[in-house]
């Protein structure tokens, strides 16, 4: 009898966890076990995973508000990334350096994020039901437009403009004298002096914790509750006197702003700014991570974000070293693409299943 109950509990737990999450967690565990076997240092691997987590977690968090309001997965996150890039480059252009440039980057990107997010939200309100498809193209087209703008906006700062002509921004530039490490160096725990190759970027993790807490708290307020209800059943929300379009727009602005802050967090950890078509590469990892974390097209929590980012980034950082050492072929990129795209397809099929 006791065994019977535990069997039910196990099955319930399996269902709750979801197979993709279990498979990927299992694979990651396998990688961690294999790491010492292939001769790579476990501490270094853990450092890498934590590092990558701290870069990406805020971008993944940017998925949450739009999922809650029923706008689906934010395939239009490049729009938020562009706001972040504008904020970052303008802060540098205005002459800010060091950690102050990070603060100013967020400050400057905020009005852009609100503006972009507002327009994007109004667009999404006109095409309810097809949000994710349209969001994808919003991302693609806005990135293309900004490719032109990066050349046309009269930036002057010699450390970010093209070296020869002095016109237009470089494809990629280093942030060493600006906000590289603005967060990750803060309260950094470095165990190298003890002979352990482990570094924890405390500041970045704290920053994510702060934003995560803020989003969690927001979802517990009156407006946040309305947002979840709008996503759960818009007709119910409307019959309860909620202005559905307004709440949806608010969620899109929030997501876009988190995307802007997310890319700045990514850059301060990575140490470089990538422009032009680079924002397009931000979409799939963020979408896939939140899905692996157990979110669905219309439900997501902060724990989904944390678990998903750890699993996905773990996979991305571990495979190149471990698997390559094992089979002597670099398949990490292939695995990354299969996992991220496969995860999105899986999630979208779940959605139709639920609707039927």
């Amino acid at each position: 009898m006791h065994e019977y109950a535990s069997a039910i509990a196990l099955r319930y737990w399996l269902k709750k966890m979801g197979y993709p999450r279990l498979i990927i967690a299992g694979f990651l565990l396998f990688l961690f076990i294999m790491a010492p076997v292939t001769g790579s240092d476990l501490a270094t691997q853990v450092t890498n995973v934590i590092n990558r987590f701290s870069w990406n977690a805020v971008l993944v968090l940017a998925m949450v508000p739009m999922i809650h309001s029923g706008c689906g997965l934010n395939f239009g996150i490049p729009l938020g990334v562009l706001a972040g890039l504008l904020g970052g480059t303008l802060a540098i252009e205005l002459g800010f350096t060091g950690p102050m440039s990070f603060v100013m980057a967020i400050v400057v990107s905020t009005p852009f994020a609100v503006l972009f997010g507002g327009g994007y939200g109004m667009l999404l309100n006109k095409i309810k039901g097809g949000e994710m498809m349209v969001a994808t193209y919003v991302g693609l087209s806005s990135v293309s437009l900004m490719c032109i703008m990066w050349l046309l906006i009269p930036y002057r700062n010699p450390s970010i403009v093209m070296a020869y002509t002095g016109v237009g921004l470089r494809n990629m530039f280093a942030l060493d004298s600006f906000y590289a490490g603005a967060l990750s160096e803060f309260l950094k725990i470095d165990l190298n002096p003890l002979g352990i190759n482990l570094v924890i970027p405390t500041g970045s993790i704290l920053f994510f914790a702060l934003l995560g807490l803020a989003v969690w708290a927001f979802l517990h307020t009156k407006t946040g509750t309305a947002m979840t209800a709008v996503g759960s059943n818009p007709t119910f929300a409307r019959a309860s006197g909620i202005n559905v379009d307004r709440i949806r727009t608010l969620s899109v602005i929030l997501s876009t702003w988190l995307g802007a802050v997310g890319v700045l967090t990514y850059q301060q950890g990575f140490g470089f700014v990538q422009l032009y078509t680079a924002p397009l590469n931000m979409t799939m990892p963020a979408v896939a991570a939140v899905l692996i974390g157990g979110a669905s097209v219309n439900k997501a929590s902060i724990s989904n974000v944390i678990i998903g980012t750890l699993l996905f980034q773990g996979l991305v950082t571990m495979t190149p070293t471990v698997i390559t050492a094992l089979i002597h072929t670099d398949v990490s990129e292939v695995i990354r693409i299969i996992v991220s795209n496969g995860m999105v397809v899986y999630a979208l099929t779940r959605k139709t299943e639920e609707a039927a």
């Binding site: 307020t221 009156k222 509750t225 759960s232 059943n233 119910f236 019959a239 309860s240 006197g241």
Partner: protein, 531 residues
């Protein structure tokens, strides 16, 4: 045409249940060739289920088939698909048109049964490339149209035809089938003007004269008397009357349709109308309300609802009774004036109505009434939280959800309404229909409204739950003094619960009667303005 005393169609002891819910019990009747049978009954009496059995619709087989026999010319038959029924000479014209708008009447009438001519190409490549024989087609469709005895232009495209002609084209399509013996017409006059309906009745007589048997389903009872040879009245899955039309009158039929045991209902009106209501002040006055709700259009409704009463709104499906609360509460486009407590209510704005202490329990539980994937706590507390800032804790400008208060209020209603659930954190989707309905009521009660619309509160829930729901409503009305307007398709239920009942017919108020009035009077009102 004659079968020496064997009737064309005999239905014998037909029984059908949907998952244990008996919808047809011991249906027996016969139909001779050339006879017109009028089939009537309230919505949900089982008419359409019966016709689906006769026509071999998939839904019958998928839900476990039926008991009893269908005999055609004395032969026991059981149609596996509608195609079998067509082959056996049964034609059916459904309420909704199934015509191709861009094709002419002729093309629609003979669709996929066109006479064809061989040509050079089809000699080589096969029959599929035969050309259509338009001359023969025109002749055949003309013949079918003549059978009806009406004039319609066979060359006109469907999209440019008036509604009536579309209906005739549908019927002509059935008539053009040579083997046609029995034609089922499901509310064919529902969309027609009076003149067109006249013509249709005339054509039914013509068809009957040519030996075709017709089953004619309609809510317009005088049409039955005008054209039918016999009348079969159904109620709650039983055939309650099977008489020659000559022996029936409109009032007889309505009595048979709606009257449960007429004497019983008349002897025990649920509760006498409370005296103080007679001259209680008017709390809501509705003037010239129109609502554009698909399938439930409200055309011109004026009502006065008195303080503290339970006011019933009844009528047949599709006549507009559901449009009234949906329009006033802002869920569908509406116009006219609504005054509550002397102040005008802004239409088309759910928020304004809720702010004015109105509340609405929708007939569409799953679509409008519930957050299926959220906890019962959320479902119960959400509107009150959003509209009245209840169940919130304030920290400066931040209004935080007060989980404890939400839990307490949900628990209170779970106990009060006897809602069966594992916990107040269970998702609404997992409850049964009756318990979901109670959650909808709890949601409205939590708003502590002064005025409550309840739309089809017992739709799709079992008998026991029905009594509980109605009881809860009555208690809410008596104890909190809340004015309740209850909209329901079930007249008996309204009569047991309400003080006064308005009957909506054709998007207008056909009349307002005290609940104790006889079923016949209500029945007469229901069909009085049917469009």
């Amino acid at each position: 045409m004659t079968n020496n005393g064997t009737p064309l169609l005999r239905m014998q002891n037909i029984k059908k249940d949907f998952f244990g819910n008996q919808v047809l019990t011991d249906i027996n009747f016969t139909l001779e060739a050339g006879q017109v049978l009028g089939l009537c009954g309230e919505n949900g009496a089982g008419k359409s289920t019966l016709m689906k059995i006769l026509f071999g619709m998939d839904v019958i087989r998928e839900t476990g088939g039926y008991d009893g026999d269908v005999l055609l010319n004395g032969q026991k038959t059981e149609f596996k698909t509608p195609f079998d029924a067509l082959a056996a000479g049964i034609g059916m014209v459904h309420q909704e048109f199934s015509l191709i708008p861009g094709f002419t009447a002729t093309e629609n009438i003979l669709l996929n049964r066109e006479p064809k001519k061989k040509n050079v190409i089809s000699e080589v490549f096969g029959d599929r490339l035969n050309t259509l024989d338009y001359k023969e087609m025109d002749r055949r469709s003309g013949e079918a149209i003549r059978k009806m005895g009406v004039e319609i232009d066979a060359g006109m495209t469907i999209s440019s035809m008036p509604v009536g002609h579309k209906q005739f084209t549908e019927i002509a399509r059935e008539l053009s089938k040579d083997q046609l013996k029995l034609l089922i017409l499901d509310e064919p006059t529902a969309v027609l003007t009076e003149k067109e309906a006249e013509a249709l009745l005339e054509s039914i007589r013509n068809m009957a004269a040519q030996g075709i048997a017709v089953i004619f389903i309609t809510h317009r009872l005088h049409e039955i008397l005008a054209v039918c040879d016999k009348v079969v009245v159904m109620r709650d899955g039983y055939v309650v009357k099977d008489v020659p039309a000559a022996e029936a009158s409109v009032s007889d039929i309505t009595r048979w349709m709606v009257g449960r045991e007429v004497q019983k209902a008349a002897a025990a009106p649920a509760e006498p109308v409370r005296a103080e209501n007679r001259d209680a002040r008017v709390v809501m006055s509705i003037r010239n309300l129109w609502v554009d709700m698909p399938g439930e259009t409200v055309r011109d409704v004026s009502l006065d609802i008195r303080d503290g009463e339970i006011f019933g709104i009844g009528g047949l499906a599709g006549q507009g009774k559901l449009g009234i609360p949906n329009g006033i509460m802002g869920l569908y486009q509406a116009g006219g004036t609504v005054e509550f407590d002397g102040k005008p209510i802004q239409l088309n704005s759910p928020r304004k109505c809720l702010d004015a202490s109105l509340a609405f329990v929708s007939e569409d539980r799953r679509g409008v009434g519930l957050l299926l994937d959220e906890s019962l706590e959320w479902n119960v507390a959400f509107p009150a939280m959003q509209i009245q800032n209840k169940f919130l804790k304030k920290y400066g400008p931040v209004r935080w959800r007060d989980e404890k208060a939400i839990h307490a209020v949900t628990k209170k209603y779970i106990d009060a309404l006897e809602i069966k659930c594992t916990s107040s954190r269970q998702n609404a989707r997992e409850l049964s229909g009756g318990n979901q309905q109670k959650i909808c009521l709890a949601k409205a009660f939590a708003l502590e409204p002064r005025f409550l619309f309840v739309s089809e509160p017992t739709r799709g829930i079992d008998v026991g739950a029905k009594a509980l729901v109605l009881d809860a409503l009555k208690r809410f009305n008596r104890e909190s003094g809340v004015t309740v307007v209850m909209i329901s398709s079930e007249l008996e239920e309204l009569r047991q619960t309400c003080d006064r009942i308005a009957i909506i017919s054709g998007g207008q108020v056909a009349g307002i009667l005290p609940a104790a009035d006889s079923s016949e009077d209500f029945g007469a009102l229901m069909v009085s303005k049917v469009i």
